[in-house]
Amino acid sequence: MVVDLAQNTLDGLMLGSAYALLALGFTLIFGVLRRANLSYGPAIMLGAYAATWVNLQFHSGALVLALVTIAGATLAGAYVERLCFAPHGRRSRSGEAAAVASMVGSFALWMQLEELATLWLPKHLYGFPPLYDGPPLALGPLTLRVEYLAMLACAVAVCFGLHRLLNRTRFGLAVRAVVDQADAARLAGINVPRVFMLVFALASALGGLAGYLIVAAHEQVTPMLGMWSTLKGMIAMMLGGLGSLPGAVVGGLALGLIEAHSQWLFGPQYRDLIAFLILFALLAVRPSGLWAMLRRSPAPAP
């Protein structure tokens, strides 16, 4: 019983690492552009299919496949940005209508990319080479898959890397200025549309990295990867707190834990239902998410 509980917690944290990685890219776009990119997952799916193709043709190694996934997701992300986000970014004064237009646009592209994937690919399900072929690690009675450990390490590394990028570089200064006061950033000489484009590309590349690690762990790619990535990334972002990078990691891990434990307690058919229930409950009580709650906890309760 205790072993089960510990194993479930461990599984949840590992599954949550994948969600955390997905949420980081999603959060970067939301935090900077204040826009939800629903085509985030489908762009990742295209990158994964590009890597699948390269794998079938050339039987490349893990590093090449990871790079192809990242490049594919970045290209697809740039396509989404040009079509859905760039046209609605410039008029800072018509914020809400533009936000809706770009979100609906990204939903349309999601459908388009998913349709293209199902139309063009002769099979829907393709195998994908694992990152690591050996047996899982044994920690006493518990087991731990190396792929998930790599995800956790990447999620933490990406979170710290982004923090450094934002706080220590010229590009980071521009990003923070745009987030703080977009008009003042333009007046300071910052090319705001270009900053948006680069942030979008960076977020898509992070999505590609997450996508590679996930398909290498699942050892298969299906068109469902698109919807799955958008949903998990978005839910983890909302759990953690909109637009906060550490919040994305906390939210991802929390979602993984919730899923693992509810699957164990109530069975797999209730897993998503319970995850959504907890999301609704949390948003009703604390709309700012888990990270804000954690940060506030040292202070006396109001």
């Binding site: 010229r170 200064l173 521009a174 923070r176 200025a177 987030v179 703080d180 006061q181 008009d183 003042a184 950033a185 333009r186 007046l187 300071a188 000489g189 910052i190 090319n191 705001v192």
Partner: protein, 241 residues
């Protein structure tokens, strides 16, 4: 006074169907302090935003040192030597004072020159130096105004545009802001100023324009007979200050 640094000719800017500027023509002489006066809603801020590229002119020409800048992006205009201190200052509230200044130099690549300018501006604005690590949003209104001016100066502009620098500030701070404006001008920066406080503005300006309902209706030099009439038409109540 020599050739105009900024020439605005027949500029029309509209929000949808409503024309806020209905053919504005004016010039800012090199080395001058030129002031734009006018009542609320006359189009003063619209002209500032159009000149700096935030709003797009529907028609007309804007020339900086002879070069057409209408239709160019704001960052491009900053790179050509013009900076705007916007209405309500718009400091970066969640960035430190030093980071605010660094952001103002975004178009520049000379790292050493940027650091030098930050130190120089800290010499000029000791209040800012004392708060260099503080976030912009924690500063008082007067300090924020100084930060907004210093941030604009970080791009080393030939022409500095200022939109209502005295807005919402205590009279003593307003005096200080205008002292700074006069100093900057003495050091060689041409200044184009929008002000509600015509009384103060006319003390420092070399030349002024009156804008009413999107058109320039009067221009002249302070001290001329028409000054009282201009102040009245700019609806100022500046004597109350």
């Amino acid at each position: 006074m020599s050739a105009p640094l900024l020439e605005i000719a027949d500029v029309v800017t509209a929000y949808g169907k409503i024309e806020a500027l209905r053919g504005v023509t004016l010039a800012v002489a090199q080395g001058s302090i030129t002031c734009l006066l006018g009542p609320n809603g006359a189009g003063k801020t619209t002209l500032m935003l159009t000149t700096s590229g935030i709003l797009r002119a529907r028609r007309g020409s804007i020339r900086l040192a002879g070069e057409e800048i209408a239709g160019r992006a704001p960052h491009d205009i900053v790179a050509r030597g013009m900076a705007l201190v916007p209405e309500n200052r718009l400091v970066f509230a969640h960035m430190s004072v030093t980071e605010n200044l660094a952001a103002g130099a975004y178009q520049r690549r000379d790292r050493a020159g940027i650091d030098e300018d930050i130190e120089r501006l800290y010499g000029r604005f000791p209040q800012l130096k004392a708060r260099s690590g503080q976030q912009g949003g924690t500063l008082s209104g007067g300090e924020q105004q100084m930060l907004a001016v210093a941030r604009a100066l970080m791009s080393r502009p030939k022409l500095l545009l200022m939109d209502e620098p005295s807005l919402g500030l205590a009279p003593l701070i307003v005096e200080e802001i205008f002292r700074i404006i006069a100093e900057l001008n003495r050091d060689g920066t041409t200044i184009f100023l929008v002000e509600q406080n015509a009384h103060m503005a006319l003390k420092v300006a070399h030349h002024f324009y009156l804008i009413e309902q999107g058109r320039v209706t009067f221009s002249g030099s302070p001290g001329a007979l028409a000054e009282d009439e201009v102040i009245r038409r700019a609806y100022l109540g500046s004597t109350k200050h």
